[in-house]
Amino acid sequence: MTDSVTFKDHSKENRIFNSRILKAVIILVILTGILISRIFYLQVVEHEKYSTQSDENRIHLQYIPPIRGLIYDTNGLLLADNKPSFNLTLTLERIPDLEKALKDIQQIVPIQPEEIAQFKKRLRNKPRKPFESVPLKFRLTEEEIARISVNEHLMPGVEVEADLIRFYPQGEIYTHTIGYVRRINDQEQKSLDDKKYKGVTTIGKIGIERFYEEHLLGQVGYREVEVNARGRVLRVLDQKEPIPGTDLTLYLDTELQKNAIEALGGQRGAVVALDPKTGGILAMVSEPSYDPNPFVRGIGFKAYAALLNDPARPLYNRASSGEYPPASTIKPFVAIAGLNTETVTPANRVFDPGWYRLPNQKRLYRNWKRGGHGWVNLERAIVVSNDTYFYDLALKLGIDNLHDYLQRFGLGIRTALDVGEQRPGLMPSREWKMGVRNLPWFPGETVITGIGQGFMKATPLQLATATAVLANKGKWVYPQLLKSSTNPIELVPDQPMKDIVVNSPEYWKLVYEAMRKVVHDRSGTAHYRIGRDIPYTMAGKTGTAQVVGIKQNERYDASKLSKIHHDHGLFIGFAPIDDPQIAIAVVVENGGGGSSAAAPVARKILDAYLIPRLEKQAIEQAKKLERNSNTPSSGEG
């Protein structure tokens, strides 16, 4: 290059270049200043903020759900257990292609379209933390677990996770009473106390599981862990163990419960058995029932629809929510009302021609026995279940007295302390009718209330409770399932009940005697069916509730068959009479008469419960006597 440089003005060019370099240096200094102030701003001014963010990045709080409290029956048999379950879960952040991953998984374990739909629903609905796994398939079999583990390394983000799930080893026998837990749904998620339910996926939906939810739940623990950007836990920084929920022991006796179900023999109905001394619910049966276990992880739509549309209505808890006309089973309670108000005396007699008529009215109120029972006093009226006597007594008492006395036995009131789904039944009164129907009370309505028909409704639980109070000579016991718990739980009645004090203890004796004769006397309504060979003393009362003639309500709609028009059979009773150990109420839906349908069920249950107990007590008594034979005994224990 022999340049044309010769003619160039070097000094001018140098001046231009140097001045431009100077300007470049100025710009360079400014830009460097901007960089330094930016770094200064981030590292000094905003340091706190970014330091916190950096910690939040790496430190995650993992919640450890507590172990739900166990539920035992009175003998320590497990009714609600927690079983390990293995679920197939996906972590989206680690899966490059979800659709492909789902296809790959299907090569290894079968996944139902419904499971994929539910999985996608879970993805959409729940606000999810990054790197939180989402379950796809629940309750994997051993074989499935093995097949997934073999292929796990080929499918990042696909894992088998262990979980504790509720399990009801007794299956369907306790579904209505114990209830079940279900997955917390979105609506519940919003209303729940977030802190208490961190990491908890299920909640008690009905029965004991729901009533004692806060006690069974326990306290959530947590683990503060350091994670990397892929959500992998590197080390545990801090940990607080969860506190398991309270274990509950119930009065329920599984042996008795099973006997009661067997005694019902597949008929629709309910049985409630109480210990009159404590109010403890020994058995509470509603038939038909269903297995609670599928509900725990989410029952399929089809299976649920089948339960919902079953005409036998298995989902319905007949024992505490079934409201039936109590019919003649209320006669002993009406008798107490009549005696204590001195409306009648034990000697008063009424002639029964087979019907009863209000003065100046044409309508006949019929006795169940067409020809009538002739002259009947109070005792005989109970023994033969004479309707005419009680029509007359009811009218003499008036609806106000009837309402007052029957309510004191708990009819029309929710008295059970820890039964979730209890309906109040209906004990009608003037105020009730004016309030609901806007009509005055008519005497004819008092007449039929006297035999437990008309407006009156009671649940099997209420009938059993009233029977227990009767067996206690008026001393109130609130029915309850809870016998004991690992942490103290205080139960308070919604409405405190007063003990029923009568003017003369003879009144109780008279009613007991009449109820004894119902079972033990040849004239008693239940004698033929259950009283001929009974090895212990039992007080009972039959009832037959008419279904036809009662206004049809939604429960018994037209789609049902004629069986639905058969009478409901009812029975209440307690035994032994001198030392009541069990009070019972039985309802057999459309079973026919109380004596034919319900009484034999009660007898079977009482036999199973009492005979071994009484034998044992007799042996103990004998041993005691033997031991004390040398020393003079001072009365009975």
């Binding site: 290059m1 370099i21 470049a24 960089l35 770094i39 590292q43 970014y50 950096s54 990045n57």
Partner: protein, 375 residues
């Protein structure tokens, strides 16, 4: 010009014979040594990465010394043919190139399919050369028609590289060409009108040239929180890394953001965030100090250069080096969009290191060949 006389009177020193500037060499050794230190932590003590980086640095220093041996007039003479060859290669890249992640940047050497060559790296060196040669042919400041020709020369490779697409590199190459014009005394009127023209051309870029992922980068730059787990993740996490470092840093090998993998590309483009997290403001200031020392030395060499060609060439190289630093730190700290510019001589990556070291070799050539040309 007294210094030139002094030099002429002196016997050439050992450094001048070797064509090495000892100050620049020392600063570069300091920088790359410190860089290895940071990379060791950023790469999780990866022996493989450290070995490769050391080898590349070694090659870089050899290339630097080799480029120092070539006298500046050779660069001037060969700049145009090499430039045209480079453009040809860039066209070749678009036609036959191999690539990754939706971009074609490499040419496979015929017969050696495993050896790949990136013509845009060649262009990084040739662009300032050809511009300096072209502008220095006529009297400074450049006249309008020379400016227009120069702009065409700049635009062709820049457009070809942007098309690959490699926005970061094309901007750096464009800048190195424009710097020659600016240092050559481009009139302020033209500069002002260029800025005015930049606005509509920006619109054209946005709608016709930029790819979706590039637009996305710009958009997330403007509002990184809009997609915190997607494309905004990088910027957010790098800001958290820098900010959480504070004044003194979390300590070497103790950065949680980088070691727990929250910081993406921690050993390539985002390595400054690792430094900032582990060594804090102190570390960043030390790094900037070394960089500034290198730039000051570079500018000194540029001012001291004997020919206009040498001045323009060295000035452009050193200013481009600054642009590297500014764009990288700017993007990692959230000032600029993420355009994929590595932190020079610190980030992992062989090609970039070799090219940069070649640039410093040219600076040394310009500095050490002065007196020889004068004779």
């Amino acid at each position: 010009m007294s210094s030139t006389k002094d030099v002429l009177q002196q016997e050439p020193s050992i450094w001048q014979r070797l064509h090495i500037d000892p100050i620049l060499l020392l600063l570069l050794l300091l920088l790359t040594g410190g860089g290895l230190f940071v990379l060791y932590s950023a790469s999780e003590r990866s022996v493989e990465i450290m070995t490769r980086q050391s080898i590349y640095l070694g090659i870089g220093f050899v290339v630097m010394i080799a480029f120092g041996q070539i006298p500046p007039r050779m660069y001037a003479r060969w700049s145009l043919p090499v430039f045209l060859f480079g453009v040809l290669l860039l066209v070749g890249v678009l036609l036959f190139g191999v690539g990754a992640m939706g971009a074609q940047r490499w040419l496979a050497v015929p017969g050696m399919s495993s050896v790949r060559f990136q013509p845009s790296e060649l262009m990084k060196l040739v662009m300032p050369m050809v511009m300096a040669w072209y502008i220095s042919r006529s009297m400074l400041p450049p006249k309008l028609r020379h400016v227009i020709v120069a702009l065409v020369l700049i635009t062709i490779p820049v457009a070809l590289i942007a098309k690959q697409p490699d926005l970061g590199t094309s901007l750096l190459i464009g800048a190195s060409g424009v710097f020659v014009l600016l240092l050559g005394g481009l009139s302020w009127q033209l500069i002002t009108s260029a800025v005015v023209l930049a606005i509509p051309s920006g619109w054209v870029m946005w709608h016709f040239v930029m790819r979706e992922y590039q637009k996305k980068r710009v958009l997330t730059f403007l509002n990184p929180e809009s997609d915190p787990l997607g494309s905004g993740w990088n910027i957010i996490q790098s800001k958290v890394a820098i900010g959480s470092g504070g004044i003194h840093g979390k300590g070497w090998m103790l950065g949680t953001q980088s070691h727990l993998d929250f910081l993406p590309e921690s050993h390539t483009d985002f390595i400054i965030a690792v430094l900032a997290e582990e060594f804090g403001l102190t570390g960043v200031m030390c790094l900037l100090l070394i960089y500034l020392a290198i730039i000051v030395r570079g500018l000194f060499i540029s001012v001291q250069a004997q020919t206009i060609f040498g001045r323009l060439l060295s000035g452009s190289i050193i200013l481009t080096f600054f642009v590297y630093i500014f764009v990288n730190i700017g993007m990692v700290s959230g000032l600029l969009p993420v355009v994929g510019v590595p932190l020079p001589l610190i980030s992992r990556g062989g090609t970039s290191i070799v090219t940069l070291m070649a640039g410093f070799g040219i600076l040394m050539s310009v500095y050490t060949h002065r007196n020889l040309i004068g004779r």
